[in-house]
């Protein structure tokens, strides 16, 4: 499998990541993430419990969407290149939502012999509302001499 590699010489501030879309979130997505992660807060899988807490229905764990977003990031910057990843959970993700994960480079720099890029990353729903906002720092390689 051929992997696309980001090189310092080829990137610039403003460059955007190829988006990753997760269409039509279902309760099955949520239950799968609960089992995989160990987050069994019933507010995410027990409809009656969620309603008793004043919610219209169950909603996804923020960390599930942070996982979708990390998929976009690692496809973009490469495996093992992430140095910092920070997310803020802005809105709930509900069954039926479609989530699009995006990123944009804000800065690139070389420091102590290491190249880095900073990017803003976010996930938005089908109404264009941001459900997660965040930022990353990733290591970037120099382009090999031709």
């Amino acid at each position: 499998m051929e992997k696309k590699v980001l090189y310092l010489e080829d990137i610039r501030a403003g460059d955007e990541a190829p988006p990753v879309v997760v269409a039509n979130i279902t309760r099955t997505h949520i239950v799968k993430y609960a089992g995989a992660s160990g987050d069994f807060n019933p507010i995410h899988h027990d409809e009656l419990y969620a309603i008793r807490g004043g919610n219209d229905r169950v909603f996804a764990m923020g960390m599930m969407t942070a996982g979708f977003l990390s998929h976009m990031i690692t496809d973009w910057v490469g495996d093992g290149k992430l140095r910092k990843y920070r997310v803020r959970f802005a809105r709930q993700v509900w069954p039926g939502d479609t989530i699009t994960c995006k990123g944009k480079i804000t800065r690139k720099y070389t420091e102590g012999g290491k190249n880095s890029m900073e990017a803003e990353v976010f996930a938005e729903n089908q109404r264009g509302e941001k459900v997660i906002t965040g930022s990353i720092v990733a290591e970037v390689l120099n382009k090999p001499a031709a």
Binding site: A36, S37, D39, G62, S70, H71, T74, D75, Y85
Partner: protein, 153 residues
Amino acid sequence: MPIQDLIGKEFPPFDLPVERGKIREFANAIGDDNPIYSDPAYAAGTEFKSILAPPTFVATKAFWRKGESVFELAGFDPHFRLHGEEEYEYYKPTLAGDVLTCESKITEAYEKPGRRGGKMTFIVLEFSFYNQKGEKVLVSRTTTIQTEGAVKQ
């Protein structure tokens, strides 16, 4: 007890074994079909020589931690508990077969009025993960917010 008194509270350290099957299950749950998470032959040909864990995999620490949780300690009601922020710093890759030792402590605890009325309580829990070679692998920080009612949007 004033919430600020929780600052500095440490939790018992525990081990988080990084299992190949769990990595595959976790990658599947976040919809990531990258073969580095599931195909040993592919992974063997990479610089890591092994199946790699996705960036948020240490969320699975939930299966391994022991004793009273920070939420029990702070009296947080799971009905009204929100995950505010999550932050990671990565130092070394997390590989299948690693056993990470996790140390955790409360680094911040404070209250402030919510925008829609009611009190909001914030707790920041910092986790440090070390591998079986004693190397610091990553640090994560979780900000959890307790509200006095469900958040309406």
